[in-house]
Symmetry: C2
Subunit: 262 residues, 2 copies
């Protein structure tokens, strides 16, 4: 697949994995990035070499991200050309840096890209087990942490990337749903709806469904239910057809039977 061009390079943040170990995680990171339109992956000193066996399978088609990934020997080299760097951490590090969640952080990142263009941003993600070192965190401008449950705070590396990428896309105003649930038919006119009510009530009357002293209350109750359906024109036609099918054969049968009983 050729490089997608939906988002111009340089505006979206680079995702920087520091000494990532598992091919699985790197592949899933690439996939998560591609899902939300990020394409720039940087790897700092991947453990046990690069490329890794199994990483392309784990990327599930997002191999363009892997193929374009750049490898660096240190965090310092990986961030040198950037203008703003965030460090993701799960625990407080005793550093006086701003700490935000991914939503607020990505709004700021998008804001930066908008100012005078070419402000490159990078987001550091640490090692699977121990995260980033305090020294590495000190190289960043600010910290991002995720609003996880205190009962189970350990977020998988690729899952952290996913949340970040998702929030970036939302902040960048690109989070459009692939499809919507717009009704293909407009709401029914009141005349069509009330006419359906009439037909239903008449059929229930003919079936002897309403005790005389309860008729008004039961009819109003039924109208409330039908109103809550928020019927479209098509819905009214559909229900009218179903009502007719349910009532007419029985009424023809009843009138067939009628005379012989009299």
């Amino acid at each position: 697949m050729s490089q997608p061009t939906e988002i111009p390079p340089g505006i979206a943040p680079a995702i920087i994995l520091v000494e990532p170990q598992l091919a699985e995680n790197i592949g899933m990171t690439a996939r998560a990035m591609a899902n939300f339109g990020l394409t720039e992956l940087r790897l700092v000193n991947p453990k046990n070499g690069w490329p890794k066996k199994g990483v392309r399978e784990a990327a599930s088609g997002a191999t363009h991200v892997l193929d374009a990934a750049r490898v660096f020997a240190s965090v310092r080299e990986a961030i040198g050309d950037l203008h703003y760097v965030l460090a993701t951490t799960a625990r407080e590090r005793g550093q006086m840096k701003r700490v935000t969640g991914p939503d607020e952080a990505m709004r700021e990142v998008v804001g930066r890209a908008g100012e005078g263009g070419a402000q490159r941003v990078g987001i550091l993600f640490g090692r699977e087990r121990v995260g980033l070192t305090n020294d590495e965190v000190s190289l960043a401008d600010a910290i991002v942490t995720f609003p996880v449950s205190p009962d189970f705070p350990s977020l998988n590396l690729a899952q952290g990337v996913l949340l970040t990428a998702y929030e970036w896309r939302r902040a960048a105003g690109r989070a459009r749903l692939p499809f919507s649930g717009e009704m293909l038919s407009p709401p029914a006119t009141r005349e069509a709806l009330l006419s359906l009510f009439d037909s239903l009530e008449a059929a229930l009357d003919r079936a002897g469904h309403y005790p005389p002293d309860k008729r008004e209350i039961m009819a109003r109750n039924m109208r409330d239910i039908l109103h809550r359906m928020a019927m479209t024109e098509q819905d009214v036609r559909t229900l009218r057809g179903a009502l007719r099918a349910l009532t007419e054969p029985r009424e023809r049968a009843r009138s067939d039977v009628g005379p012989t009983r009299a």
Copy 2:
């Protein structure tokens, strides 16, 4: 680990995986749920049986979710006791159902749990390759879809669960960050700050750093830079100490050397 009790059962939605195939995905689903405080997992007809080899490792400690998971033979049975069901789909299904993103959907879910309690909600996630069938979607009240990039829309099952769980926690007002970046020291008073400016300017003066015709402009420029640091009281003390260390030995040395040169 005993069942976490941070969120009372019955308020958070149940996550329902329909015919999930890979142990990896089910384990990662359990982990994603635990990360954001969801505990109720339902499995419909897991492919190739249950439990699965490898699922506990993939759950990375979220085994309490796996242990409490309930298995059903069909979607209908899995949702029978629920009051509201959402179906996640990537593609439009030709059904006139409301479609929202995970953020809006979870706000509604939280709203429902708040009304007269005990409104149980479930969210259906389909098979890894083909998702949910149209019939299964028709059993749901509404559809949730994710705002993915059209260049790469295929979201991994556990990643979809993660986004949903994250958005639920945010909607439920529980998305607190585990720590904040509050400065431990208050902002410096203007007197302390201006005093630092004076000291720095005096030191630069003594070092002959300012050409006379540029002194005012350069001094103001430096103050602008220092203002942007938004220094705390502690910052001022720290920088004052560094300034002293940088200037006093040299000045002592200069005055030591002075007389012999004259």
